[in-house]
């Protein structure tokens, strides 16, 4: 009993911080999502409008388009990061000359703030001064301008995200691979299993929890991407890179439409939770005994 009390006392600071900085703001956002509220209008009062914001959101073409663009972005970015991260993790499990330096350089993007990453990539992709359009033009004769070409802008944002976040995937997968026991692999090799069979039937099932945790983290991050994209493309050209985070930003800050912005936030949170839950259920959840 005493250890339980001590446990609660030790947990109390964390729980209090979580309550005041996590739970309370969430409840407030849900509360605001049922209101029409523009604090900078002539009448800054919150007006309760029931579920009207939710009625509006399912017909809002800008929001639906932003969801579509975000899903595409998440698919391209997260899948690429996972594959690339696994390949790099396997590479780092072996010894090769310059491994330590390469690993350090490879991890450097992780320590950069997203807004800085966006600024650097903006400099690198600006046609008159950027290194990427220059070399694309010199070597392949390709004219690249992310301010006017929607596919180029979208591809650049995806590549920037892959460059920024693949090291995180690599590090988590290295941790998972290092902790694997060697016995099953030796037994599989003795039994004559090839590399593909070992990967699908031993490696992947054993690192599945780490893979799912990594995908959770990247999925949640990618769904709320704002600063990098805001800095690089501002959501354009048109709505090519207007991801849902950027859409919320534009709705809340330039338009000061706090009620509707909160509604979008709540719906996006809902979609994020559902996506993560479905991923968990399909990959990790214990099956029912009747199966």
């Amino acid at each position: 009993m005493q250890s339980k009390t001590l446990g609660w006392i030790l947990l109390a600071p964390t729980l209090l911080i979580l309550f005041f900085f996590g739970v309370l703001p969430f409840i407030y956002v849900v509360f605001v999502s049922f209101h029409q509220w523009n604090p900078f209008a002539v009448d800054p009062e919150m007006v309760f409008n029931g579920a009207d914001n939710f009625r509006q959101i399912v017909f809002d073409p800008a929001f639906l388009n932003s969801i579509g663009v975000t899903v595409l972005f998440v698919l391209f970015a997260v899948v690429s990061e996972l594959i690339l991260g696994y390949v790099l993790a396997q590479a780092f499990m072996r010894d090769f000359p310059g491994k330590a330096i390469f690993r350090t350089i490879h991890t450097l993007p992780l320590i950069m703030a997203p807004i800085i990453v966006g600024s650097v990539w903006k400099l690198m992709t600006t046609p008159s001064i950027g290194i990427i359009p220059k070399f694309l033009d010199d070597w392949f004769g390709i004219t690249m301008n992310i301010a006017t070409s929607a596919p180029a802008a979208f591809a650049t944002v995806v590549i920037m995200d892959i460059w920024h976040w693949t090291p995180l995937v690599t590090l988590t997968l290295i941790a998972a691979l290092v902790s694997l026991p060697s016995d099953p692999f030796e037994q599989a090799q003795i039994d004559g299993a090839n590399k593909r069979q070992i990967f699908w039937h031993i490696t992947l099932p054993m690192i599945a929890p780490a893979v799912v945790a990594t995908v959770f983290i990247r999925l949640m991050d990618a769904l709320r991407t704002v600063d990098e994209v805001w800095m690089l493309t501002g959501g354009g050209p048109g709505s090519a890179t207007r991801f849902v985070g950027v859409h919320i930003f534009k709705e809340v800050f330039p338009k000061t439409n706090y009620g509707y912005g909160s509604t979008i936030s709540v719906v996006v949170l809902y979609l994020t939770i559902v996506a993560c839950w479905l991923l968990y259920v399909t990959m990790l959840a214990p099956r029912s005994k009747k199966d």
Partner: protein, 81 residues
């Protein structure tokens, strides 16, 4: 020094105290406890409401019908899921 040297750091009694809540094998394809089923019910309620707003409310069907359906579904899922 009063404890015997062979006392394990983690004991089975300690594990029993923190055992997870009882799992239930209902009609859902995964093992769930009552909180999982409540979560599934809330997720379905929100999905049904958004679907209703988009496709059925314009045809004149009130959202309260969706809420009633969601409530019945929640009852069934929590009791038998």
């Amino acid at each position: 020094m009063s404890k015997p040297l062979h006392t394990p750091l983690a004991t089975t009694e300690q594990e029993d105290e923190t055992a997870p809540p009882e799992e239930n094998a209902g009609f859902l394809p995964i093992e769930t406890n009552w909180f999982d089923r409540l979560f599934i019910s809330v997720v379905l309620w929100i999905a049904l409401s958004l679907f209703w707003f988009r496709f059925l409310e314009p045809a004149g069907l009130s959202i309260w019908i969706a809420n009633a359906i969601a409530l019945v579904m929640a009852f069934i899922i929590i009791r038998k899921g």
